[in-house]
Symmetry: C2
């Protein structure tokens, strides 16, 4: 089979204006960026909200393995399959970060015959939204350090000289780090504002760091905003620091929120693209699901739900990660919960989750994982069961997509299908990678059936936001992950007290944890039990409207490996990009 990039570059795409018209978007609701992508205006949002609303399908997966389960392939393939069986469908996905594009893999557009195209545009810049998020983030960072500096320099004369009120930032409690869309381990922890001896020109020296832009609170703000006015309000609420009395200093307090909104204005418009089979696809926002909330934007969903009968989207990593946040964070903010969940599983992925093999990061995978092994498959099946039940818990129907790889054993696939059906779940084998939408027609049929079936119960959240933070954390770990409890660090205890004192206890939780286990510990495969989750710190994200919870030592800035993906990337004499899928 051809490479992903070759398939993408060799497919004749429709002009984006044709895709827009096909989706029911009016000509004056679109700003085309060339023939392949377009920004959608807010006039469409208003109109879409007044139209009949479609059904929202969230694609999730078993616990991820180094093999890749093909969640985006299945998301795009399902959308293409739905289109083939006559459903008016749109897909909504996140914009890939350039960090992983140059780091661990070359791109995140789906794969094979189920891709969003052109994949090189999706993976590099697209229409510039991630850069805009980083710019707004770094503007706020420069502003808070500059304000600290000038209030200190001008002292009692600050107000007289500037006409501004003092905010009295506590230099030891600046909460806002800086942001870059790159895997750059050297920026995880830095000292800034270092001066020459005898000078203070570079500001106040202090320790800080950079996070990848996918982890920026502003990325969450972009993804969770209802519209432009809500975006502006949320930017104002972002807490940049605390003052000497322990009160939050917001972006509004230092009058930088308006400029941040100006920087993010165009980014607030979703970008329309297409799949290889011409399904209209909205690409918008790109929070990671391990260190952020892991779902594409509410604005894009709202536009799509007003235009299509079924909207397919995905939450990052397993159902304990992006899907959990789709239900407990995104659905709350949107006022719209998922109508069905799809759990993607593979034979190899279940075997890798079985605990039978000794898998270590960076090591070559054992060949046995690709060959029939009933023992490992049975052991790994428990992980799929867990994720099926985790979706059902929210009161929505679940469909399992068995993403077939060429070497997969028919007998094993059949066994797995029977086991899933025995659990009372709907299931279909998907060949979306090798056959595109045709390979996902059966899956599409199962999803349509699931959406049509009368709901036995109504959607329910995992926890009530009005519970105290500790209670919510316990519910998350015990009911959400099946763990035995939590272990709060001294920092975490202090953070909980502070959040309560400031009146921010009643926010949902955004868990930062390893995606490689249902627990916090990537070494615990399958369905871990009796684990206690260490909570190292909690951070107020008042703009995005959640409490950010760090479990253990989760990195918010990835690094580049010794053989990073960028080694293979280049342009040819005609400017075509090469090596993006290697």
């Amino acid at each position: 089979m051809k490479s992903d990039l070759a398939i993408s570059q060799q497919t004749t795409l429709k002009p984006i204006s044709v895709i827009a018209a096909q989706a029911g978007i009016l000509a004056d609701e679109v700003t085309s960026y060339g023939d392949t992508k377009a920004k959608l205006k807010f006039s469409l949002l208003k109109r879409a909200e007044a139209e009949a609303q479609g059904k929202l399908v969230v694609v999730t997966a078993i616990t991820p393995t180094p093999l890749g389960e093909g969640k985006t392939v299945t998301t795009i393939g399902l959308a293409q399959g739905l289109q083939r069986i006559g459903t008016k469908v749109m897909a909504c996905i996140r914009q890939p970060s350039m960090g992983p594009v140059f780091g661990v893999k070359g791109g995140a557009a789906g794969g094979g015959y189920s891709q969003v195209a052109p994949m090189e545009e999706l993976n590099l810049h697209l229409s510039g939204d991630i850069h805009a998020v980083a710019a707004a983030h770094n503007l706020a960072a420069a502003a808070i350090d500059a304000r600290l500096f000038h209030e200190q320099q001008l002292g009692n004369e600050f107000t007289a000289k500037t006409g501004l009120s003092r905010v009295d930032i506590d230099p030891n409690r600046i909460a806002w780090r800086r942001s870059v869309d790159m895997n750059d381990r050297a920026l995880r922890r830095v000292t800034i504002g270092i001066n020459r001896p005898g000078s203070s020109a570079n500001g106040i020296e202090r320790e800080s760091g950079f996070d990848i832009t996918a982890a920026s609170e502003l990325m969450a703000v972009l993804a969770l905003a209802a519209d432009l006015a809500d975006l502006r309000q949320r930017l104002g609420k972002v807490v940049l620091a605390y003052n000497i009395d322990g009160k939050p200093v917001t972006a509004e307090d230092i009058q930088v929120a308006g400029a941040m909104a100006a920087v993010m204005r165009d980014a607030a418009q979703p970008t329309l693209m297409q799949t290889l089979e011409g399904v209209p696809t909205l690409v918008h926002a790109g929070p990671f699901a391990n260190i952020a909330h892991g779902n594409s934007s509410i604005i894009a969903d709202k536009m799509a739900l007003g235009l299509a009968d079924v909207v397919v989207t995905e939450g990052g990593f397993g159902s304990d990660m992006g899907f959990e946040k789709a239900c407990n964070i995104k659905a709350r903010a949107a006022g719209k919960s998922p109508d069905a969940g799809v759990v993607v599983a593979t034979l190899r992925g279940l075997k890798a989750n079985s605990g039978v093999y000794d898998l270590r990061p960076g090591q070559t995978l054992p060949q046995a994982i690709f060959e029939p092994d009933q023992h490992a498959l049975e052991a790994g099946f428990a992980n799929l069961q867990w994720h099926i039940n985790n979706v059902k818990r929210y009161g929505i129907p679940v469909v399992v997509a068995l993403n077939r790889f060429p070497q997969d054993s028919d007998a094993e696939l059949q066994w797995l299908q029977q086991q899933v059906e025995a659990q009372g779940a709907s299931v279909a084998i998907s060949e979306a990678f090798s056959k595109g939408g045709e390979g996902a027609e059966l899956l599409a049929q199962r999803v349509v059936e699931a959406l049509a079936q009368p709901s036995e119960q109504s959607f329910q959240y995992l926890y009530d936001v009005e519970q105290c933070i500790e209670h919510k954390l316990l519910t998350m770990v015990e009911a959400g992950y099946g763990g035995a409890g939590i272990e709060l660090s001294e920092q975490a205890k202090a953070d909980i007290l502070t959040l309560a004192k400031l009146g921010y206890s009643n926010l949902p939780l955004c868990m930062a944890k390893s995606p490689l286990s249902i627990s916090h510990n990537p070494a615990l495969k399958g369905v871990p039990r009796d684990f206690t989750v260490p909570i190292s710190s909690l951070k107020l994200c008042a703009g995005s409207g959640f409490i950010y919870v760090l479990t253990g030592n989760v990195m918010t800035m990835p690094g580049l490996s010794a053989t990073p993906a960028y080694l293979n990337i280049d342009i040819d004499a005609d400017g075509n990009i090469t090596g993006l899928d290697e």
Copy 2:
């Protein structure tokens, strides 16, 4: 008169496809980004190079003052004036950096009725080129630190485990800093790669810093590249560090240049916009003229010169800055020298250059500067004389543009005009700000006459690149600035030896110096004499093909003032940007 932003927002612009057609650009040479901007493809570059070539006019100015001389206003006004008198004209300008937009002023699109529009798009992101430059820059930075880290971690096993040859970076000689398009003083000097005790996960701790993206060597590479293949070659030559034997480690050596080219591919295409009167304007690259080479791109010039009879561009700051670099750096790389120079002067600017007033940064300007003062004007005139002669030195005709402000005295303007004519220079009063192209018709006429006059001499560079570095530095200071000599720091002496040893002596110089004086010292107004320029260090920029020379303590990262421009910027309920011109 209305504000710049109001004028820009209230002017009905032509669809960019109409502007493109009017400029002679074929439909398949354009990628429209909405109705207001478009990227121009490389097929146009090839065609333009084969067409009859237009004349290149470079707009420069007297030594800048806090008042603003209106160089961009005159550039855009002149282009509009030329169009009005029937000349086929295009303008080529730099893309404004967001640093100053949020820092000292709200935008850099010209002003009044001589603007590039829409000014809010020009000033914020535009088509994302500056972000792409920063991303490519920071990819290289992450790559060099990651390579240092992995070679150290894997030791003798590096090659066996990765298949890559060791480059043996000297951790104390990493030349590549990081880049952000923001005024952020706290990032001027930072320590990166700080680890937790007992861990090495964050890399190798070392001191580094961030420069504003306008000062990135990659911005110069973008501006100086002849085409996409040349861009790719230049990126490969960029020196990121030196190895333990003192040899340069390039982007090609660590195999990151291809990915950098992929990141910058679309940025290599100029963006077509329009002036308020519909003159086709190419916006491309944005190097500052004090800490970089200060001119828009060669690719844009080449496209415009193949399409128009006259192309108007500008060099940043006074003629000792951007114009000097237009002649000695850009013209050499382009193989095309300017055909005429325009020196912009104002009554107030000359008075501010007179030395009569005690002007201090941050202080309110004395009212007298805006009122008739023959003594100050006469004293300040010497500065204009110097800049007229500085343009003539290169062997090209000069036209002086007296940029009129509403309060200006007729008698003083007339006196000034006579003085300029007595010097044998052509002169016209320009009212481009208040009247647009109509106010610059006379100036346009003078420029057309200057271009038509038989050239008395041929273009000549200030120095021969084959001279040794010290000789070139002396020529720059003595002949270029009228100074008495140079004072080399120990670092500068060592840098010169290193450059010579590595075989890079024969490159032109890119001087980083204060723009506020013809000398290196902003306190020396008018026409300074008998000054000695301190040379603090020299840096090899092998990708852009020049030697970067730091004089004294020039900052490559601006800061935000106590009352920065962002305080006034916001969006309204319809998403219109407000306060960008305050």
